[in-house]
């Protein structure tokens, strides 16, 4: 079993490195196509030719693009993410100040949404076709169809402005007690959960139903196992693979795709940092964020595959 996992991990890491390289080339090329560069964006209306030339030289933008890319890549290999073009601060410091916030929000959301989604999914699969299944499916489709900015805005209007139960913004700097933590995170977590619970739940339901309709489950039922045992001990281990993948996809979204929630709640996360980077044409920052999101995605997907193998007896003993 160890061999299979190790071999898989080795392959995945090699492919991951290749993907990262490809992503870095694509991101670099796309940002080069964007109108204006960091110097122009920073000067805005004040961009006289002399000011532009001076600032470009200061930012190192007077070097040809391929050379800049290679220089950046060389730094990355040595573990140096470079210096932000607009702030002159190390990119590592900038990301380091935001990444923990994003991870905290992702962790809180995962902690809340994964158990709910899995429970609902499995329950719907077991009682498929029942009123519960239909209600859960309809509700999840309805919730996932409402855009998150609408959910977030309505939640703010109701809970912050009208009822004044929760703060309209999520301050992470002033959290001292568990109560404050829950208050600050209640609305962002609620909004994000609405988006990802439905996906995970429907994937779980589909995967478990797929297994429950397989011939071996009939065998299990015939030998007299309880419904609980049938689902948890026999069907679920075989369904872990697809479920883990669905969970991994949803969680990778939490890392970099939550710009709307970060904007509405003014949450200092990493997605906003990257959007700032794009609008200021801060190449080193954008590149580093893109690498980070890509790496996060690859790690989660690989973990999901490993989970699937470890949990599934048939794959484990092959």
């Amino acid at each position: 079993m160890n061999l299979i996992v190790l071999k898989l991990l080795g392959q995945r890491i090699a492919i991951a490195l290749l993907s990262l390289l490809a992503v870095s080339v694509v991101v670099f090329a796309i940002t080069a196509v964007l109108p204006g560069d960091a110097a122009q964006e920073q000067l805005g209306q004040d961009a006289t030719p002399e000011a532009l030339a001076a600032l470009r030289a200061q930012m190192g933008l007077d070097v040809p693009a391929p050379q800049r890319y290679l220089h950046w890549l060389g730094g990355l290999v040595r573990g140096d993410l470079g210096t932000s073009a607009t702030t002159q601060m190390p990119v590592g410091t900038l990301i380091g100040s935001r990444l923990p916030n994003s991870l905290l929000l992702a962790a809180m959301t995962a902690l809340f949404s994964v158990p709910i989604a899995l429970t609902l999914g499995i329950a719907s699969a077991v009682w498929r076709g029942s009123w519960f299944d239909r209600a859960a499916s309809t509700a999840s489709v309805a919730v996932v169809s409402v855009p998150e900015f609408l959910i977030a805005t309505l939640a703010v209007l109701l809970f912050a402005v009208k009822l004044r139960w929760l703060p309209a913004l999520s301050y992470v700097s002033e959290i001292e007690s568990l109560g404050q933590l829950l208050k600050a995170f209640a609305m962002p977590v609620l909004t994000l959960s609405c988006v990802i619970v439905a996906q995970m739940m429907r994937m779980t339901r589909a995967a478990v139903i797929d297994q429950l309709e397989a011939p071996y489950i009939e065998m299990v039922r015939l030998k007299g196992a309880s419904p609980m045992r049938m689902v948890l001990a026999h069907a679920l281990p075989n369904a872990i693979g697809p479920i883990a993948n669905a969970v991994a996809l949803s969680l990778s979204y939490l890392l970099g795709g939550v710009i709307i929630v970060e904007t509405i709640f003014n949450y200092p996360g990493i997605a906003k940092l990257m959007v700032d980077g794009v609008s200021q044409r801060d190449m080193p920052l954008v590149q580093a964020c893109a690498m980070l999101f890509c790496a996060g995605y690859l790690i989660l997907v690989t973990l999901a595959d490993v989970c699937g193998i470890v949990a599934n007896p048939r794959l484990r003993h092959r």
């Binding site: 109108p35 204006g36 964006e41 805005g44 004040d46 000011a51 001076a54 601060m89 709640f265 003014n266």
Partner: protein
């Protein structure tokens, strides 16, 4: 705001501003009466007014309290280096921590700050006497060397200062006494005290290169600064203005999203928020305990018709377009009345050099049609707009409608805000621009209307105008200067390829408990210098 309202309704914002400025300088009831009577007002009305103005002033500020303030931008580029500051959150932080030699009041007239007085005979050599007993936050006394360093560093290209162009006219800054600094310019400029009152020329300690500690002479000391997230300042007990500042602590954050900002205010999370959209004003006013603070300033979005190419090369086309502005409707429907009507010249009514005698150009389809036919322009005329230039898309659409009525087909091209300034502004034959409030009429005219100016938007060239501009800069007699500025405003109004329909207002929202706000037309948040002037009324 609430104190000003009755006054503004009676005498108009410009006069009320002058009155308040006078009151801040310590004018008495008698002075106010004289000012109003000089303006031709009846004695009885003037007496009542002086009373209103004085009662507003008589409200005693209270000490203590903590407020949270939200600006409209937050980015990792937030900086405490005065030379690099570029937006309202930077400026707001700057005025908390630093002072300039001078400070601009409600009519943008320079008042003494770190300089107790300033004198000149030829507008070329200026002597500034520094205030005694001023100390930096770390206890060091303010010295002429600090002033020389703070001003001269803008000239060094390595500083990459936003104010380099302005600083280039300064030849030298030298200590000429223990509390005296002499500034020599390369050419006379009567507006030097105005320039030195702007945010970029805040005084820092001699030799400072790392500004993250925020050491200045200002009303608050820096406690925490996280670029793009927030800053925290506490009261400077040793501040040189007696009794000021009033608050114990100010937390300042940037919230980019307008509705998030307003929600944060209305849910009690913020006490003052910048840049409220006119469409959110009703919501703020409708919530008990909250109020709106409006600053009318010189900000404008303008229609640029290049005089060197395209249809604008024909002066009759330009005149036709200027008559096509339905200014009243734009003011009402687009700016929701948070604007004043402009007259195709860039000096706004809050400015001390505004020429009120220039006849207002009106919406006149007959005249527009006459000029259009004379110009002989036919076919589609592309008009470039973008959300980057505030309200330009809406203004262009209103013009498109009215233009159809005289058979002119305007093709409104909407460009993304991203990259608008570098790619479309100044390049399109007909398009929109946006100009933020400038500290002085001279700066504005020099940057945007001088023949050789880099941002001469319409490429309008008039040697007579350039001569007047130079002469007015050197003129120290206020009455003569006013006349020169009036002539220049008339020239722009008649000849330049610029149509200015409205001067736009900045709108801030605040809790009713926050007192002391008075407009300074550099922008919202009291020209970004609310920090030392506001207090909390328990």
């Amino acid at each position: 705001m609430s104190d000003r309202t009755p006054l503004e309704q009676l005498v108009g914002p410009a006069d009320s501003q002058r009155l308040f400025a006078a009151l801040r300088r310590g004018a008495t009831r008698r002075d106010v009466l004289t000012m109003l009577l000089a303006g031709g007002m009846q004695a009885g009305l003037a007496g009542g007014l002086a009373g209103t103005a004085l009662s507003a002033h008589a409200q005693t500020p209270k000490k203590g309290g903590r407020i949270r303030v939200a600006g409209a931008t937050a980015a990792a580029t937030d900086t405490l280096d005065p030379a690099k500051q570029s937006n309202q959150t930077d400026y707001s932080r700057g005025t908390m921590l630093y002072n300039g030699l001078t400070v601009l009041d409600g009519s943008l007239t320079p008042q003494p700050a770190l300089a107790e007085s300033f004198t000149t005979t030829d507008a070329k050599t200026w002597v500034f006497t520094l205030r005694k007993g001023v100390t930096f936050h770390d206890g060091k006394a303010l010295a002429p060397a600090d002033v020389a360093y703070s001003v001269m560093r803008h000239k060094d290209p390595a500083t990459s200062s936003k104010a380099k162009v302005l600083a280039d006219q300064i030849e030298s800054v030298k200590a000429t006494g223990p509390n005296e600094v002499t500034v020599v310019l390369s050419a006379p400029n009567a507006d030097l005290p105005v320039i030195l009152g702007t945010f970029h020329f805040h005084i820092v300690k001699d030799g400072t290169t790392d500004f993250n500690a925020g050491i200045g002479t200002g009303p608050y000391k820096l406690k925490e600064f996280k670029p793009g997230v927030r800053s925290l300042v506490v009261r400077n007990e040793a501040y040189w203005k007696p009794g000021k500042p009033y608050l114990d602590e100010i937390e300042f954050v940037g919230i980019g999203d307008e509705s998030a900002r307003v929600n944060a205010l209305l849910s009690g999370g913020m006490d003052l928020v910048a840049s409220v959209n006119p469409r959110s004003v009703a919501r703020v006013k409708g919530t008990p305990g909250y109020a709106i603070f409006t600053t009318q300033s010189g900000q404008y979005s303008d229609l640029i018709m290049r005089r060197d190419q395209g249809p604008g090369a024909n002066p009759d086309f330009v005149m036709a377009m200027k008559h096509l502005f339905d200014r009243e409707q734009m003011k009402k429907a687009i700016a929701l009345d948070y604007a004043v009507i402009a007259n195709d010249q860039p000096i706004d009514p809050t400015n001390r050099f505004y020429f009120a005698g220039l006849p207002q150009r009106t919406f006149d389809l007959d005249k527009a049609k006459f000029h259009l036919q004379k110009a002989g322009i036919s076919g589609k005329v592309p008009v470039v707009t973008s959300p980057a230039a505030m309200y330009s898309v809406e203004m262009a659409l209103v013009m498109q409608q009215t233009a159809q009525r005289i058979g002119l087909d305007l093709d409104v091209k909407r460009m993304p805000a991203d990259g608008y300034w570098s790619n479309h502004w100044l390049n399109s034959p007909v398009g929109f621009g946006n100009v933020n409030p400038r500290p002085s009429a001279d700066t504005l005219l020099t940057q945007f209307f001088q023949s050789e100016a880099a941002w001469n938007e319409s490429r309008w060239k008039n040697p007579k105008f350039d001569q007047l501009l130079l002469a007015s800069r050197a003129e120290t007699d206020l009455a003569k200067r006013k006349q020169m500025y009036a002539d220049m405003q008339t020239m722009i109004h008649q000849e330049a390829g610029i149509g200015i329909p409205l001067f736009l207002a900045s709108i801030d929202g605040h809790t009713a408990k926050l007192k002391g706000l008075a407009p300074i037309p550099l922008g919202g948040l009291m020209g970004y210098s609310f920090a030392e002037n506001v207090w909390l009324d328990a």
